[in-house]
Amino acid sequence: MRIRTAGVIAVFTLALAASGCGGGSDEPATDESPKAAGGKLVIWADDKRTAALKPFAETFGRENGVTVEVQAVSKDLQTNFVTASQQGSGPDVVVGAHDWIGNMVQNGAIDPVQLAADQKSAFNQTAIKAVTFNGQLYGVPYAMENLALIRNTALAPEAPKTVEELVATGKRLKAEKKASEILCLQSGQNGDAYHIYPLYTSAGGYLFGTTANGDYDPKDLGVGKPESIEAFKKIGALGEKGEGVLKRSITPENSIATFTGKKCAFLVSGPWAVADVKKAGISYDITPVPGFAGGKEAQPFVGVQAFYVASKGKNKALAQEFVANHVTKPDLAVALYQAEPRPPALTAALDQVKGSDPDLAKFTEAGRNGQVLPAIPAMAAIWDPFGKAEAAVIGGADPARTITSAGQTIAGQIK
């Protein structure tokens, strides 16, 4: 009997110890800043940005006597944020792309941010437009990105002004065996709506019409309209059964590698490709994606990375303070630029870094005519069918039939 009593006592001691350990891990940062009496700000970002944010967050915490924790969520940040937010275990601030806004708003996961007029005017106006949804500003942008034409200047010294010029140069290089592909524009077996979009707009297509106040209108779907069929006829002419410029074998995985391997002279990609191109030691230049001769201007999508205030965060006032009054300062934008070289959305920050990095101004120039990537939830229904239609047309399918049925599929999914 005595041995059993001892056992029971031991069990409870261990139990208390175990639960004590569990409780302790919830408050790891308290001893970092002793002044942190109550305030704690939790920020979720992806891996790269977490590293850049940490020093800034620590400074903000130290100066204001609060604890700031930056947590890296490496996969499916938006989904994880929306789910965690619903369960009340989400962060106070989240960092992500502006086209998440529609979905985060319909799930009641983020709150509008109020910026003063002079704060707003410090940003690139396209960036401000991108984070504005239903007339409200939902995030504070820090970086922008868009596609451009990256050219191997050793192979093609002159920037092509039209798609036709580009094709002619590419074909000549291919005939001279200096390159094996005319253009590296990623498609893959299932297409890539983002990368084909500049050509689609140049050929006259559109995705959504706009309402009176300039927002995208999900009721006016451009896919399946006569303009889109005409546009895809032009894209099809460049496809595998036509000029052989656009190919399904050029995928997101091999597109940049094919360019850096000097197998093609032209690459349609964004700021994220520049690091690889530099590493490969290629002499390059960045120009806007050219349009079709006699067509409209090629308009790439402009995407914006932004900070958002979580609706169900535990420390909303501090989150608002951080996002509205501290993210709007240039030093953070510069630090994030150094983590990943995308053009800062703050004009002052761009001016600060563009002297040492001429690529930034070129990407900004390439995105000058860009269209803000629609943030409305209906956009989620576009990507997949539109990309597949593109792949089918590149493979030689009939544009009219393909695009009409893609339009029907998309319309069926828009609620």
């Binding site: 056992g7 001691t13 261990l14 208390l16 609060v66 929306v82 995985e253």
Partner: protein, 544 residues
């Protein structure tokens, strides 16, 4: 491979159980078992862990006021303690841990999925109605046009941690300071306050100005504090600025609707869809979760986009599962037989080489294979000088995914077949050769049936696994190639990849709908497995 192999297949044929007065025996045995120190130590540590986990889990439950969950937790823990601290109920001691894990990891998820299938849970319908109303109202707060932006300090008359909060706001135009609380805004004399250059009040007579640390500890109260003004209300934007804003949309309980004060439009709550809908059918983006009855199930059966390609997909799905399982089984068994031959030299080296594909992560291997099938840059076309667009044509894509499955899966079958072959006595095959049977005849008549007795449960579980092998398709072809006129159903789509696209590919995730489809798939796999296990049992009775 997952659990089905431990299912009904492992039930033994009658007559194999050791018979006798086992219960009585085990009881007497139990009473005489001495308490060893190791046994006691293990028991103490494990029960300590149980109690630790229970205490750790109790706090969030108390915090969330989940009393049912708490009661369940207490009852389970108490039950476990009773069971392992008493000397009775010996069989239960062995059964309970497995049963608990079965409930936690199998039954509860299935029940949860089933309950989700009857709701509209998904993007835009995640929370409850109250949360939706709050979200709509918060999202509609607009800055009053032309209103002033104030510099803000948060202050209190009493204790910084508990005293009632007030806003000290400075008008940037004239530097005048006002004090605001829930009753309204009033001016303060300039000599009562100290104002920093940026406009923020740093001290005020009779008030304690909170610093960021103190203020952020009372974040919720600050966000909730609204100072009524003539044009709307003064709200905080962070901790250093305030603006005059107005909630344009408000919920009206009388009509159960949301009303826009600027346009006069109303959106009435529709409890059957969990949305606020206007008369013209316009729906507010934010909605809430409601039960929808059988709507998700009827949608699967009646939507022509789903039921149309369903049969074709189902047939290919069976072909894929049978092909993957059968192909790997045949190749694996063939290789195992070859290496089982006593005349074979260097079998260990071959075995190591053969297991290599199994040792590599299938995730990465699938992606590598996808790139090898690339038309222009892929290894396969370059090696053989082909120009086949593998993933671009219906039949070549199907052949390609089956080939990948074969490469990924045969080492597993080789391993289990080797084990099973070693368990078959050599005398049996020797006896057949003495009787004059050819090696093929002896394989057909003796080895294969005995092999199948051992491997059938594994083949069935492999079938069930491959039936839902999402990664094998999604990481290679993504379901493609797709017919030009139907981007939602491709030639290599399995039911699981097809439904994933239906439920998550459109405008936001639809968990309720996805759950309904997965119940259909569950039913199909369950029926197939049940039928096969029944047949296996008959076979075992013949050969055992």
């Amino acid at each position: 491979m997952s659990t089905p192999s431990s299912g009904p297949g492992s039930t033994r044929a009658p007559g194999r159980e050791p018979v006798g007065s086992r219960p009585a025996k085990s009881r007497t045995a139990g009473e005489h078992t001495p308490i060893t120190l190791t046994g006691l130590g293990a028991k103490v540590i494990l029960l300590g862990l149980v109690a630790g986990i229970a205490i750790w889990a109790a706090f969030p439950l108390v915090e969330a006021e989940q009393w049912v969950g708490l009661a369940l937790l207490v009852a389970t823990t108490a039950g476990l303690f009773y069971l392992y601290l008493t000397r009775r109920h010996v069989p239960a001691k062995y059964l309970v841990p497995g049963t608990l894990f079965l409930i936690a990891f199998q039954i509860v998820p299935v029940l949860y999925t089933a309950s989700t299938a009857f709701t509209n849970f998904g993007d835009g319908h995640r929370g409850d109605k109250q949360g939706t109303i709050v979200a709509i109202q918060t999202a509609s707060v607009e800055q009053v046009p032309g209103s002033t932006e104030y510099a803000l300090s948060v202050a209190t008359e009493g204790d910084p941690a508990t005293g009632p909060l007030v806003f000290l706001v400075t008008d940037p135009a004239d530097g005048a300071v006002s004090i605001g609380d829930a009753t309204g805004l009033r001016r303060l004399d300039a000599d009562e306050v100290t104002v920093a250059p940026g406009g923020k009040v740093t001290a005020a007579d009779g008030y304690t100005v909170l610093n960021f640390g103190q203020a952020s500890a009372r974040s919720q109260e600050i966000t909730d504090l609204v100072v009524p003004t003539a044009g709307g209300a003064l709200r905080s934007s962070g901790l250093s600025r305030a603006y005059e804003g107005k909630a344009v949309r408000a919920y009206d309980a009388a009509c159960d609707c949301v009303r826009d004060s600027e346009t006069g439009r109303t959106w009435t709550a529709d409890e059957s869809t969990g949305s606020f809908v206007a008369d013209d059918g316009e729906r507010l983006a934010q909605g809430w979760k409601v039960g929808v009855g059988l709507r998700n199930f009827t949608r699967v059966l009646t939507d022509p986009n789903i039921s149309g390609p369903f049969l074709g997909t189902l047939v290919w799905n069976f072909a894929f599962a049978v092909g993957s399982t059968g192909g790997t089984f045949m190749l694996g068994t063939f290789v195992a037989l070859a290496l089982h031959s006593p005349r074979m030299r260097g079998t260990n080296l071959y075995r190591v080489l053969l297991i290599l594909p199994y040792a590599m992560p299938s995730f990465a291997m699938l992606l590598v294979w996808r790139d090898m099938f690339n038309t222009d840059f892929g290894l396969i076309n370059n090696l053989f000088g082909l120009g086949v667009n593998w993933f671009g044509e219906q039949w070549s894509a199907r052949a390609a995914v089956l080939l990948v499955q074969l490469w990924l899966g045969y080492p597993y079958m080789f391993l289990v077949a080797t084990g099973a072959l070693q368990a078959i006595p050599r005398e049996l095959t020797e006896a057949t050769s003495v009787d004059g049977a050819s090696p093929w005849q002896s394989f057909r008549a003796v080895t294969l049936p005995l092999l199948l007795v051992a491997l059938s449960p594994l083949l069935i579980s492999s079938f069930a696994y491959n039936f839902n092998n999402f990664n094998a398709i999604y990481l290679t072809t993504e379901g493609g190639p797709f017919p030009a006129d139907n981007p939602s159903n491709g030639a290599t789509d399995l039911l699981i990849t097809y439904t994933y696209r239906l439920a998550f590919g459109g405008q936001g995730a639809e968990f309720g709908f996805a759950a309904a489809i997965s119940l259909f798939i569950f039913a199909i796999v369950a029926v197939v497995s049940a039928v096969s296990f029944r047949r296996t049992r008959k076979q075992e009775e013949v050969y055992a």
